[in-house]
């Protein structure tokens, strides 16, 4: 059971003690509204990522979650961190999702535009493939749009060709789950 609470926050909807940076280039989830930031910071309980990709005919399914056990009202003192790192020995890839709520980024000219740092990546040991939220120069890439916090983002499957002769990337989703108070 989560208790109701009321606390003073910054214009970004997060505690004043949280670092606020005007360097928006650090944000991967930008821009979103202060209301989305407030909701995400205080009530996000889990972040689930799922996707499918195939390299040279070998198909890989991913579905993993990052959760936080910090209760909403306790996030005034300690921000929640959503991070999950794993290694797939079969494909020799490591994959990670992280949403660090220990800082926000804002447009110094328009404080209704706030950014968060969202990390998603899957990479093999040989740097032949890479799944992340931006295209990598010099590699082929397949982009797939997804919606997160009311914002349309793109995820990219970057690969070297050759040796990769065939690649596909689909069903990318990143689903947040919020606590209802």
């Amino acid at each position: 059971m989560n208790d109701e609470f009321l606390t003073r926050v910054s214009f970004a909807g997060v505690p004043h003690t949280l670092p606020h940076s005007s360097d928006t280039s650090q944000a991967t989830l930008y821009p979103i509204t202060p209301h989305d930031v407030c909701k995400t910071y205080w009530t996000l309980s889990s972040l689930t990522v799922s996707y499918v990709y195939a390299i040279n005919g070998i198909q890989t399914y991913r579905n993993f979650s990052a959760t936080s056990s910090v209760a909403p009202k306790n996030r005034l003192i300690s921000p929640a961190t959503f991070e999950m790192t794993n290694f797939d020995s079969q494909t020799q890839t490591s994959y990670i999702v992280a949403l660090k709520l220990d800082g926000v980024y804002f447009d110094i000219d328009d404080k209704s535009k706030i950014g968060l740092k969202l990390i998603f990546e899957e990479a093999d040991s040989f740097n032949l493939i890479n799944l992340c939220l931006w295209p990598i120069p010099g590699m082929n890439n397949i982009a797939r749009e997804f919606t997160f916090l009311n914002k349309t983002l793109s995820a990219y499957l970057n690969y070297q060709s050759p040796p990769v002769t065939s690649a596909s990337f689909s069903n990318f989703a990143m689903v947040p789950e919020f606590i209802v108070i």
């Binding site: 609470f5 009321l6 606390t7």
Partner: protein, 579 residues
């Protein structure tokens, strides 16, 4: 004597019209008449004289009668056929003309001083002209005759000398003749005489002693007579009781004034003529206004406390006043009552301003702007009064009792005389008759001839003399009708000024005291809110609690998160300051 008749523009011997018989009947204050008979084949012939045509009869070229053909009855008998023509004298016109008087009426009654014009009405006030001057009986009758002349009646005013004033008498829809008879009830010894001699007949009104006398010898041509002294008509006294009802501002009282003649009479004598006459009393309406004023003491704390309710409970010693200003220079403040234009005083709104500093248990204010809206005036405490309307009382006719006494009291002789002679050479009408050849008292009886009937064919003259019965002089009961028929005139001022009775509208005061206090922006030093049910619970905002020299604490907007939802709220907070 040569008798001629003028008809339809032609004057011919009267016989040439076929007239076989002429009879003239004259009665005091009634229509003179001449009866003409025209013998002949009346059944088959048209009337010689048409109805509503004029006829004049001359005796040796002198006017003897004139008038209008009013009746043309046809008589048939075994003795023959004849037209009878009844010719009415000029009094007939007065009987058939409604007397009207000019009244003033406003062209635009909404104007403050409207222009008046004359409107002729058959509601008349006898004894008053349009300029408000009271008229004597003689002057009023002259006005009636002049009105008739203005309406086309071919008459001229002859002698009239009746300087008797009467109470104002309001009546309506009466003929000129009725009006004259109504007036002459006050002086019943008056006779009206129309002289047909001039080309335009003259009408004269003569009182008994103003008439020429004529003496009749009983041994000469008198065929029959009767006579009696009317001691029964003599009255020992005339007492007039004038009653007026006066009114001032709704307070009504009656006032009685007695006029009597002889002076020594009491009115309780037998046969004394006692008349109660109502006169219009004076009426006045005043508007009265009591006002109370007080000096404007703007430097006095108590004055401000009296005008600013919020200061009432603050000790005077805790209040200081500065920067006083006023928009008016009038010296006094209106406390009670109103100031109206009719008071000839000035009043105006004054905005009195000052800056007040005060402190009490719950607040401390510095230089609060306070404005009080008051009514200032140069009037002082007292009672102001102004005449709203005034109707002066009707004046009491002077010597009216004496005039009535002199008209009624002298011994009068009542009777008739019939004379017969070959020629009718004497005119008895309009004269005082004395008779010789009988009792000595008859020789100076000065009897007023009231009726004369002259038959030219037979030479017979019927004379009736005595008091004028139709004027009420015949008995006491009739005399008192003069008073009973008289009603006080309630409209005489309306006739003159066109003013109607007041509807009670009084100009209201324009300026009355105002109670209106305005607070300007105050500078609070401290405000304290206290729970009325728990004195220990309070909120106190005191600038003294701000330790730094220049900082403002005010409501400020801030962001909050309510259970994960970003919202805003206001908080009372200061601006940042260095500690």
């Amino acid at each position: 004597m040569v008798w001629t008749l003028e008809y339809d523009g032609t004057t011919k011997p009267i016989a040439s019209f076929g007239v076989s018989s002429i009879k003239r009947v004259r009665k005091n204050l009634l229509t003179d008449k001449v009866i003409l008979y025209v013998q002949g084949n009346a059944l088959s012939s048209l009337p010689t004289f048409s109805a509503n045509t004029s006829i004049k009869i001359f005796n040796d070229g002198n006017g003897w009668f004139g008038g209008i053909v009013t009746q043309t009855p046809l008589h048939c008998s075994s003795n023959g056929e004849a037209y009878q023509y009844e010719v009415s004298g000029f009094w007939w016109y007065l009987e058939n003309l409604i007397y009207q008087q000019a009244w003033k009426e406003p062209i635009d009654p909404m104007e403050d001083s409207p222009t008046l014009y004359n409107v002729y009405k058959s509601r008349v006030i006898l004894g008053l002209d349009i300029s408000g001057v009271q008229l004597s009986i003689g002057q009023q009758i002259t006005d009636v005759i002049n009105y008739a002349i203005s309406c086309g009646v071919n008459l001229a005013m002859g002698d009239i000398d009746i300087p008797v004033h009467i109470p104002l008498d309001e009546c309506k829809d009466l003929s000129c003749a009725d009006i004259i008879r109504r007036l002459l009830r006050w002086v019943p010894d008056t006779i009206c005489y129309i002289d047909y001699g001039p080309s335009v007949p003259t009408i004269s009104f003569l009182r008994r002693l103003q008439m020429p006398s004529i003496t009749l010898n009983l041994s000469s041509h008198v065929q029959e007579f009767s006579i009696q002294p009317r001691y029964d008509l003599q009255i020992p006294a005339v007492v007039l009781k004038f009653e007026t009802t006066n009114s001032i501002n709704g307070k009504i009282w009656k006032e009685s004034i007695q006029q009597k003649y002889p002076e020594t009479c009491t009115g309780s004598e037998l046969k004394a003529l006692v008349l109660t006459i109502n006169l219009e009393g004076s009426k006045a309406n005043y508007v009265v206004q009591n006002i109370t004023t007080a000096a404007i003491e703007t430097s006095s704390v108590s004055w401000w406390q009296a005008h600013v309710p919020g200061l009432t409970n603050i000790p005077a010693s805790n209040i200081s006043i500065g920067n006083v200003s006023r928009s008016s220079t009038l010296p006094n403040e209106l406390i009670t009552g109103t100031v109206a234009n009719w008071m000839n005083k000035t009043a105006e709104t004054d905005i009195v301003r000052c800056k007040i500093s005060y402190a009490d248990a719950s607040e401390a204010v510095i230089d609060r702007e306070v404005a009080v809206r008051i009514l200032t005036t140069d009037a002082t405490t007292g009672t102001y009064k102004d005449l709203l309307s005034l109707t002066t009382a009707e004046s009491i006719p002077l010597n009216l009792a004496e005039q009535i006494y002199n008209s009624v009291n002298p011994l009068q002789y009542d009777g008739t005389v019939v004379t017969v002679s070959e020629e009718i050479s004497q005119d008895f009408f309009g004269k005082m008759l004395n008779i010789i050849g009988g009792q000595p008292s008859w020789e100076t009886m000065n009897a007023v001839v009231q009726e004369v009937v002259e038959d030219l064919d037979s030479g017979k003259i019927f004379i009736k003399f005595g008091p004028a019965k139709h004027l009420g002089a015949a008995d006491l009961a009739e005399l008192t009708r003069s008073g009973r028929l008289l009603f006080e005139s309630k409209n005489h001022s309306e006739r003159i000024t066109a003013e109607v009775s007041s509807d009670g509208t009084v100009e209201q005061g324009i300026y009355a005291r105002v109670d209106n206090t305005s607070f300007g922006p105050g500078k609070y030093k401290m405000i304290k809110f206290a729970d009325p049910n728990n004195s220990g619970r309070s909120i106190q905002i005191d600038t003294a609690d701000i330790a730094v020299s220049a900082v403002t604490v005010k409501l400020r907007e801030e962001d909050v998160c309510e259970s994960g939802v970003l919202k805003k709220r206001y908080s009372l907070a200061s601006e940042p300051y260095s500690s």
